[in-house]
């Protein structure tokens, strides 16, 4: 595939156009990658507001009524519900793995069996998150397809 990059002056006009004969899984993957790279979130930490890339998020966690995004060594509080994040970023490799967690599959190192049909998600930052049994089929479908 040919790749052309054209420099423009206005950041607001930045745009990625893919010209293809057919929308194959590879094209979808490039689209998903581009969308994730372009997405930023706003969250607060120590009473200050920060912007960060969605692609840097390892996982989202709901604690009581508050939702946090975890990046490498940082956590931001978000003004959004966990199910809204789950729905908004489902096509960007974010998936619910338990009542309180939505994980980034791109930041997932591996999984290992836990007790009673559950699994442990080993994230690339070394953290471990439990995958509830009821969410295992959805996660398998997202990664393995129909297998």
């Amino acid at each position: 595939m040919k790749v052309r990059i054209k420099q423009i002056s206005d950041k607001a006009d930045e745009c990625l156009v893919i010209e293809c004969v057919e929308v194959t899984p590879d094209i979808e993957s490039i689209r998903s990658y581009a969308l994730t790279k372009g997405t930023t979130l706003t969250g607060s930490m120590d009473e200050r507001i920060y912007q960060f890339n969605l692609s840097d998020v390892f996982y989202f966690e709901a604690v009581d009524e508050r939702v946090f995004a975890y990046t490498k060594g940082r956590s931001y509080e978000l003004k959004i519900r966990l199910y809204e994040l789950e729905n908004a970023y489902a096509d960007k490799h974010f998936i619910r793995c338990s009542k309180s967690f939505v994980i980034n599959l791109i930041k997932l190192e591996s999984i290992s069996p836990a007790l009673n049909g559950r699994f442990t998600a080993h994230m690339k930052n070394g953290e471990k998150i439990i995958i509830s049994r009821q969410y295992v089929p959805d996660i398998k479908r997202a990664v393995m397809g129909g297998k």
């Binding site: 899984p25 998903s32 791109i106 069996p113 439990i130 009821q134 393995m144 297998k147």
Partner: protein, 147 residues
């Protein structure tokens, strides 16, 4: 998972599997040791009674919240102890448990079956995790996130 879903999925499934296994075991053991024995209609009730009583201890595994690995392990041990107590008590009150050695051997049998079921589940989950991790790496490579 709410209690209704848990009851239908876990307890009812346990009941039907237990009843099927008890029927199969009664038929096989009966054909080998007492092929000429005849029973009345009441005999149909014993698999149902034992199936129901063997399923009741599953209720200790219910929780509205996601349990940690430690909490799950404790509940699994509790489930096993209750299962032993319920089955041995019923056999004792029905007058089928005639000696200590018989109680001990039955207790060990229940332990071995419980251990085997959990071991088979764990081996199956291990295989699933291996296939998942392979597919995950492929997904991440396609995405360009292989780190």
């Amino acid at each position: 998972m709410d209690f209704k879903t848990f009851f239908v999925k876990k307890v009812m499934m346990s009941f039907f599997v237990s009843v099927t296994c008890i029927c199969a075991a009664m038929a096989l053991v009966g054909m080998v040791f007492e092929p000429d024995a005849r029973f009345s209609y009441e005999a149909f009730l014993s698999p149902l009674i034992f199936g129901a009583t063997a399923s009741i201890p599953s209720l200790v595994q219910y929780s509205k919240k996601d349990l940690s690995l430690r909490q799950t392990a404790i509940r699994n041990v509790l489930h096993f102890l209750l299962l032993e107590a319920v089955i041995l008590s019923i056999l004792y009150f029905l007058g089928l448990l005639t000696s200590v050695s018989m109680a001990v051997s039955l207790g060990i049998s229940i332990f071995v079956i419980d251990l085997t079921v959990n071991l088979v589940m764990w081996i199956n989950d291990k295989r699933t995790a291996k296939e998942f991790n392979y597919a995950l790496k492929k997904l991440q490579d396609d995405y360009g996130a292989g780190e």
